[in-house]
């Protein structure tokens, strides 16, 4: 079994305290074939729901963005979080500054961009939105909830 390229080496941002998985991620097909992998990589065309029966043994899901304009990975991320996945969710590939706040909202909590991002620009991007209009995979209360009494 050949591990894919992704390793913890190029993780630039991580919003978790647990130890990162120390081995590379395998493809969805390889993951479904073998019982011991704890890290899996989703490509844009993969169905994230195939992982749902096995979430208890997954510690890292990498979602690959070969091109930042292909937004399928956003849905993959939310589907995993909606199903209760608590492990690391890492965006890899063509990950850019101006998508970071949306990635966070879809449930990503680590980032391994192909090209390292400007640290200052990235920190500003993560903090772009003081409020949000809709519920997503993060636990932020949407504006409609704030308007009707829920705390932020």
């Amino acid at each position: 079994m050949v591990d894919l390229a992704g390793t913890t080496d190029n993780v630039q941002f991580r919003f978790r305290d647990d130890e990162p998985v120390d081995h590379g991620a395998v493809t969805v097909d390889a993951f479904l074939d073998q019982s011991n992998a704890a890290a899996v990589r989703i490509e844009p065309g993969d169905d994230a729901r195939k992982l749902l029966p096995h979430l208890e043994r997954v510690k890292l899901v990498e979602v690959n963005f070969p091109a930042f304009t292909d937004g399928r990975g956003y849905s993959s991320a939310r589907i995993l979080r909606e199903a209760g996945y608590q492990g690391e969710l890492r965006a890899v590939g063509d990950v850019l500054v101006d998508q970071l706040s949306h990635f966070r909202r879809c449930g990503f909590d680590s980032f391994a961009p192909d090209q390292p991002l400007n640290e200052e620009d990235a920190q500003r991007a993560f903090a772009t939105w003081p409020q949000v209009y809709q519920a997503a995979a993060d636990d932020r209360a949407p504006i409609w909830a704030l308007r009707h009494g829920r705390k932020a």
Binding site: Y74, S75, D98, W129, Y133, I143
Partner: protein, 544 residues
């Protein structure tokens, strides 16, 4: 109409700051043009043939006078003193400098406006019925639902990199005045047998190179599921819409390739998955928004009679006003289609004037229509003559609503980097021809729509007469289509045969209208006659 609270204002202000920073990073070279392009597009900024074009959002087409004044101010301050109202009920400016764009957005934000998601592969500005709140045939005002969807779709983190653009229209009456079934999602607010309101979802319509009429995907979505169901429709599209070919990337292709039943099944599955995720705003939020759309304080007992002694005025009343639910009032359409003019264009002075008139005659509110005109929705009949006189003096009194001169046209090759042919000169020539030969009035309702390329921004598929500009071995050529219709009985036009050059297409349109005048039965519109007699008599006259 809707007003921002502190949250809405913060969102728009935040967006201005974000875009200012993005523009700075682009100008300083930290962002490549490829990286910047989707960002500027989602702020309405296109790079066209000669300059940047900025498309400003007019949610469901509704504006107050302060907003309208700001649109005029922007035309003067940053552009060449005019703006172009579009088929998506927005306005665009054609001569914008990139470095000015953040300042324009900041100016817009001072009057609760923006250019968010007016372009790009995301959920676009949501359109609606331009007679909303005035029409006698609506079950409710559709705009609160459009506003709820506007907020949900703004910066929706999952749906900002869709396969392609995504357009939603919301109506709430039997008569469809928003071309609802030619949208990616068309929503009709309906009442069920128990008198409850809900939403009928039509999904997968559109124009472009593969025009399709949206099929009904669900008859009744309860109002407290509106967002969840929309999200399910979008998620299936985001996951499975084609990304290998941009010409096959709209949701209409997905629905067509999957088949209606399979698409519906997938949406219902996703809808079930999304239940319990707590993504639906409470009905109290819809009620909060609805408060902003209550009827204005109409005066009761106003006279119904209109003094028709001035024949020019009487003609304008007949052609450019629409029945109102409130006795003593009408809805007025200000035509932006003067004879020989550029459809949808208005000067800054005209926009300022329309703002003042909206304030004085229509409870401080006006609307942009998808036919590129302006509506004053609530005008007292007894003040119509006064209003008309002011409009007429400013070149805004053209009495041609829904006549052949009321042409929809895209900007075409005069501005647009996608176009194959010019639209504006063809529109101008047709408008002049039929004004000069006096047939414009005789022909009655005849919707003519011109697109300068196959992307169909000028809605040529939906014109009773449609014109499509194509490139034929390096010269502009125009195809003629007949029989399209955007309303309740939506139909797509059919090409008559070989195309024409610029003068030839003007003659061909006249030939087609002559066939109608010869063949029409009592009370038939052009479209009715075409539907009855079919294409052959027209073909024979055109090519025979």
């Amino acid at each position: 109409m809707y007003r921002y609270d502190q949250y809405d204002q913060t969102m728009v202000d935040t967006r201005v700051a974000e875009f200012r920073d993005q523009t700075r990073r682009r100008i300083e070279g930290h962002l490549t043009e490829d990286q910047f392009k989707p960002l500027r597009l989602q702020n309405g900024l296109y790079l066209q043939l000669h300059a940047y074009m900025l498309r400003v959002a007019v949610p469901y087409g509704t504006l107050n006078s302060a907003q309208m004044h700001m649109l005029a101010t922007i035309a003067d301050k940053y552009d060449r003193g005019y703006g172009h109202f579009t088929t998506r009920q927005n306005i665009q400016y054609n001569w914008i400098k990139l470095e000015d764009a953040p300042d324009i957005l900041a100016d817009l934000a001072t009057v609760e406006m923006h250019a968010i998601q007016t372009s790009g592969n995301c959920i676009r500005n949501i359109s609606s019925d331009h007679y909303a709140g005035a029409a006698a045939d609506e079950v409710t005002d559709p705009r609160p639902y459009a506003e709820l969807l506007r907020q949900w779709s703004s910066f929706h983190p999952e749906f900002l990199a869709l396969p392609r653009k995504f357009k939603i229209a919301v109506i709430a009456s039997e008569t469809d005045r928003a071309a609802m079934k030619l949208h990616d999602i068309g929503i009709r607010i309906v009442k069920n047998e128990s008198g409850e309101l809900g939403a009928a979802f039509y999904v997968g319509g559109g124009m472009g190179r593969t025009p399709m009429i949206a099929p009904l995907v669900r008859e009744f979505v309860p109002l407290d599921q509106l967002i969840t169901y929309s999200e399910a429709c979008l998620r299936v599209y985001n996951r499975y819409g084609r990304r290998d070919n941009k010409y096959k990337a709209r949701i209409k292709i997905l629905v067509h390739e999957l088949g209606l039943d399979e698409y519906r099944r997938q949406v219902e599955d996703e809808f079930a998955q999304l239940q319990g995720q707590d993504i639906e705003p409470p009905l109290a939020e819809l009620e909060r928004i609805g408060e902003y759309f209550r009827d204005p304080p109409f005066t009761v007992g106003l006279p119904e009679e209109i003094d028709r002694s001035d024949p020019d005025f009487a003609l304008w009343v007949d052609r450019n006003t629409h029945a109102h639910k409130q006795p003593g009032y009408v809805a007025v359409t200000i035509s932006l289609k003067p004879v020989g003019g550029i459809p949808g264009d208005a000067t800054a002075a005209q926009i300022h004037l329309m703002a003042d008139l909206a304030r004085e005659y229509s409870f401080d509110e006006c609307r942009v229509t998808h036919a590129q005109n302006i509506v004053l929705a609530h005008v007292e009949k007894q003040r119509l003559h006064e209003l008309w006189s002011k409009l007429d003096e400013a070149g805004l009194g053209t009495a041609n609503l829904d006549l052949i001169g009321d042409i929809i046209a895209c900007p075409g090759l005069d501005y647009c980097s996608l176009a194959n042919a010019r639209s504006i000169p063809v529109a101008q020539k047709i408008s002049q021809r039929f004004a000069e030969n006096g047939k414009d009035g005789v022909l009655g309702e005849l919707k003519l729509k011109i697109s300068g390329c196959i992307n169909a921004c000028g809605h040529h598929h939906a014109g009773h007469i449609g014109i499509l500009g194509v490139d034929k071995k390096g010269t502009e050529n125009y195809q003629l289509l007949l029989g399209g219709c955007e309303g309740d009985d939506t139909s797509l036009g059919k090409i008559t045969g070989p195309g024409f050059d610029e003068d030839g297409i003007v003659n061909a349109v006249e030939t087609a209208t002559d066939v109608y005048l010869r063949e029409r039965a009592d009370g038939e519109r052009f479209l009715d006659t075409y539907r009855r007699i079919g294409m052959e008599p027209f073909k024979e006259a055109l090519y025979g």
